[in-house]
Amino acid sequence: MPIQTEPVTINLGPQHPSTHGVFRLRVTFDGELVLDVEPIFGYLHRGTEKLAEERTYVQIVTLTDRLDYVASMTNNQAYTRAVEKLSCIDVPERAQYLRGITAELQRIASHLISTGFLLQEMGTFGGTPLMYCFRERERILDMFEMLCGARITVSYMRPGGVTQDAPPEFWEALAVFTRDMPGYIDDLEGLISDNEVVLARTRDVGILSDELAVAGSVTGPMLRASGVQWDLRKADPYEIYDRVEFDVPIGATGDTFDRYIVRVQEMRESVRIIEQCVEQIPGGPVRSDAPFFMRPPAGDAYAAVEAPKGELGFYLVSDGGISPYRCKIRSPSFINMNVLKDMLVGWKMGDLIIIFGSTDIVMGEVDR
């Protein structure tokens, strides 16, 4: 007689199933096998969209820092682009380049965190590769500090440009960084990409098909790992991206390893973009004279950027007042969770943590 087992439902979290923030997964297991998954969000919900309705357009920049708190620069960029589109403000050339440089630095920082934590979740090296990733990220944060005095919650960008020009020491640090970074990425890859443990645990695990990814509104490295060549920087180039050359890496199968390797390759492309920006950057003002109390004309606008996690968009509705009538945030981390259940069901407990880690979500952005 076969042994009968009963499915067991277990809460993973809400503390930390894998250090991405306060998040709960209610998982039904049959032994070790995942039968059903229900993600439960909201532990970090701060009502950002409602708060935005009571603040001026410039004040909201500080709220956007706290969405995806490992990629504040791209949050600033998405928001300020929506305001600029709504009120038809032009951004000076130099500011566009500074935005491009900081956004790409931020992308590297975010992908370093994602890669580091993915390894942490595999438990393979007991924290060492995570610290390697943090070491390089620290240099990026130091550069942000030179720009605006803050490391995480930068609020560097403003509608109409950036707050201030970069100091001379920023350019020196940036030159050293772009010189060292490719070699560092080689080191990281040498440590991981050929590692047998990593390969065994990530190859063909948690496959996300391209049809499912497109149907599920998935964006960012997760979509590209599934083999869909869609990057807003290429498909809908904003600011400087039509003036620089870079490739959009895509994955072959959409497994966990592809999601990791696409991010690593994107870091290389980001370094390329930064180098070209440094060569091309013109002189001039860094901010057009947009007023502090902006009153955009009544209407609405949607602007999106390719944030490290995917398409981050802001949909602003103005009624002509000093604060937006409605501020909707299209957060990639949240929307990418549409396919979480499809990716996890049928895998084992140990795979669950790694697959979830490879989706690279940040709860500040999911819960808003």
Binding site: G42, G47, A215, G216, S217, G313, R326, R330
Partner: protein, 147 residues
């Protein structure tokens, strides 16, 4: 560049296939009748030269006398986009058809709109709150919400 399709031209094509479905257009926006939303969505997704296979986002705006539900649509293959809008009058639990059968990506976004704006999506298999907890009084993004 992602091409924003002309609303007037798209509305003409929608009305050709589904008479009376599109009521207004302006720039890249098309307003449709809420009753024919599902048909329009299917038409936009299945017509080969439109090919709106991705739902970028769903959101709702409370204009006090009505709710406007906004669908940002995108075709990755053809690299063009359009914004579909529809209006729902009445504040006592307005409802609209769920597009989850057409775009799987509507799942969490429709739940979010229900949670924060209180527009219910008919036909969604799991119409529960997503960011707030069950039993939370009211829908915070409504203009008459009092803390």
């Amino acid at each position: 560049m992602t091409l924003e399709l002309d609303g007037a031209e798209l509305a003409r094509r929608i009305n050709e296939a589904l008479p009376g479905a599109a009521t207004e257009w302006n720039g890249a926006y098309v307003w449709v009748e809420p009753e024919s939303l599902l048909d329009v969505a299917r038409f936009l997704k299945d017509t080969p030269d439109l090919d709106f296979s991705t739902l970028r986002g769903i959101t709702a705006v409370d204009y006090v006398e009505h709710f406007e539900i906004i669908y940002h649509l995108l075709s990755m293959r053809r690299n063009h986009s359009v914004v579909l809008k529809t209006r729902r009058f009445g504040r006592e639990e307005p409802t609209i058809d769920s597009v989850i059968g057409i775009w799987k990506g509507a799942d969490l976004q429709e739940r979010e709109v229900w949670d924060l704006m209180g527009v219910r999506f008919e036909g969604h298999p799991n119409m529960k709150r997503v960011l707030l907890w069950e039993g939370f009084p009211g829908h915070p993004l409504r203009k008459d919400f009092i803390r």
